[in-house]
């Protein structure tokens, strides 16, 4: 199987790898079948993702999608992030073979879970006030 230059570059030089100490939106999702994991930590201010970091365990497609996602998220409005599609993730990493498309699905799932975690936290904070 051959991967694109862009894909290989994400593997060799992952963008935004790591964990944000001051994140206010965090999620870690696992693909229950293959065990791949993606962890996303975001710093969201005024409806916009200021910073994004990822950690990933699994096949190269999962690592590349984590990197591609974290890179494209920075500066993006939360509203737009919620509308990101699998196809956009796949194209951000220069394409994926059919049998690796699930990696992009895990990326979208983790992104939505992270944003949701922020919303839940915000609602709870409002309830506390």
């Amino acid at each position: 199987m051959s991967y694109s230059e862009s894909f290989r570059d994400h593997i060799a030089h992952p963008r935004n790898a790591g964990e944000l100490p001051d994140a206010n939106a965090i999620a870690e999702e696992t693909n229950p079948v293959c065990g791949d994991r993606l962890r996303l930590s975001l710093s969201i201010r005024d409806g916009r993702i200021e910073t994004a970091r990822f950690l990933a365990y699994g096949c190269p497609a999962t690592l590349a999608c984590g990197s591609g996602l974290a890179e494209m998220l920075e500066g993006m409005k939360v509203e737009d992030a919620l509308h990101l599609t699998r196809k956009e993730i796949v194209s951000a990493v220069g394409g994926l073979p059919t049998r690796k498309q699930h990696a992009a699905a895990l990326a979208i799932e983790t992104l939505r879970a992270a944003i949701e975690s922020k919303e839940i936290a915000t609602v709870r904070a409002a309830d506390d006030e």
Binding site: I11, G18, L55, R99
Partner: protein
């Protein structure tokens, strides 16, 4: 960028002498070995010479060698041929849990047809126990197929001991029992003598011993009954129909002779490189597990699981640094298929996912080892830096 090939268990680079030997049979000596004219005779003589060279590698007689297209065909011919011939006497097969897919697949197909299969465990060292074979033997067992050396972890199975058990069973009236071993990985790397192994059938492949892909062989002990799988021609004494791939067969023969002559030197060379590689990796990288018995294994092979990371990621990282290795696990369409061989050792799924095979060859150098160790340290460090698993563990310890 430097390139280092450490995947000799997948295939070997054809030896220049081997290529030189085959070239005339791709050009002026193009005859069909079945033709009676001069061109045909030339090709026939070359095929017969190669057959003798292959036979010598395993101390067999030339007329016990059935030339095939490769190891998979040899395994398939052995298993299907013997089982079909013996089906009326029994429908039970004994094999191990770590066989090559070509053996596994052929046996699984019989199971689907209603045959019974006993798959012997290999314990945490990757080695079948002879007493387990003895205990599994039944009156209706017609085939025992256990590989000589494993393709992923290199463990060498006690084939001579199992062969003695099979002979003893035959001596007490178990006439329809055959013993097959897949020696594709072992050939040219450890000495093989079919008599002392006590096998009836043994599979070989040319491209694992520095010949090009396209030729292999099945050793078929005289007297063993086998139903041909390819029919409609007199080639290979009616045991395998089809025009011989003369050039590939010549190359296989030349490679077999070379392997026979250089076996000890290759052995010593690859063992030296492999052992230094392993000790350096152990000194530089923590949280690793060596897979398979470290004594009873092929001299050229090392299989290591790296915790917290997945094999395919490591493979690509190394590939980007010019280093070729392989992994037995595959993640496909969201379904993980961890290496059945590593799982058979009782390893956790995470370790099976992070297993990498490094297989050295006659042309690798000490500098190759140095380069690969550095590339590996870099790759493992990068991937662990990304892994939520290693970070969580680090936080706990």
């Amino acid at each position: 960028m430097r390139r280092v090939y450490l995947d000799h268990s997948a295939t070997t680079p054809p030896d220049p002498g081997v290529i030189e030997a085959m070239l005339p049979y791709l050009t002026e000596k193009f005859g069909n070995a079945s033709s009676v004219h001069l061109w045909g005779q030339e090709a026939r003589a070359a095929v017969d010479r190669a057959r003798r060279q292959v036979a010598r590698l395993i101390s067999a007689r030339a007329n016990e060698i059935v030339l095939t297209s490769g190891g998979t065909e040899a395994n398939s011919l052995a298993i299907r041929g013997v089982c079909e011939a013996a089906a009326s006497h029994g429908q039970h097969i004994i094999t191990s849990t770590i066989e090559h897919p070509s053996v596994r697949g052929a046996i699984d197909a019989f199971e689907k047809q209603g045959w019974e299969v006993t798959r012997l465990p290999v314990y945490d060292d990757g080695i079948v126990r002879t007493e387990d074979v003895r205990a599994a033997l039944r009156e209706d067992t017609v085939l025992v197929s256990v590989m000589l050396a494993n393709n992923e972890i290199g463990t060498i199975q006690p084939i001579a001991e199992i062969g003695a058990v099979i002979r003893a069973a035959r001596d007490v009236g178990h006439r329809h029992l055959s013993f097959h071993t897949d020696a594709v990985q072992a050939a040219g790397r450890i000495p093989i003598e079919v008599e002392s192994l006590g096998v009836d059938l043994l599979s070989l492949s040319g491209h694992k011993i520095y010949a090009p892909k396209g030729a292999g062989a099945l050793y078929l002990r005289r007297g063993v009954r086998l139903v041909p799988q390819q029919i409609g021609g007199h080639q290979e004494r009616e045991r395998r129909a089809g025009t011989e791939s003369v050039a590939n067969i010549v190359a296989f023969g030349a490679a077999a002779e070379l392997a026979q002559n250089e076996k000890d030197a290759r052995n010593e060379h690859t063992r030296g490189l492999r052992d230094r590689f392993e000790s350096e990796v152990a000194a530089r990288i923590d949280e690793i597990t060596f897979n398979g018995d470290r004594e009873r294994r092929l001299p050229h092979l090392s299989n290591i699981s790296f915790r917290f990371i997945e094999g395919e990621g490591l493979l690509i990282h190394l590939d980007m640094q010019g280093v070729a290795v392989s992994t037995g696990s595959a993640c496909s369409s969201g379904t993980l298929e961890p290496s059945p061989v590593i799982l058979a050792l009782g390893r956790a799924e995470e370790l099976a996912r992070g297993a990498i095979r490094f297989s050295f060859g006659k042309d690798n150098t000490e500098d190759d080892v140095n380069y690969v160790v550095e590339a590996l340290v870099h790759a493992v460090t990068s991937l662990r830096h990304l892994s939520p698993l290693s970070r969580q563990t680090a936080a706990v310890t």
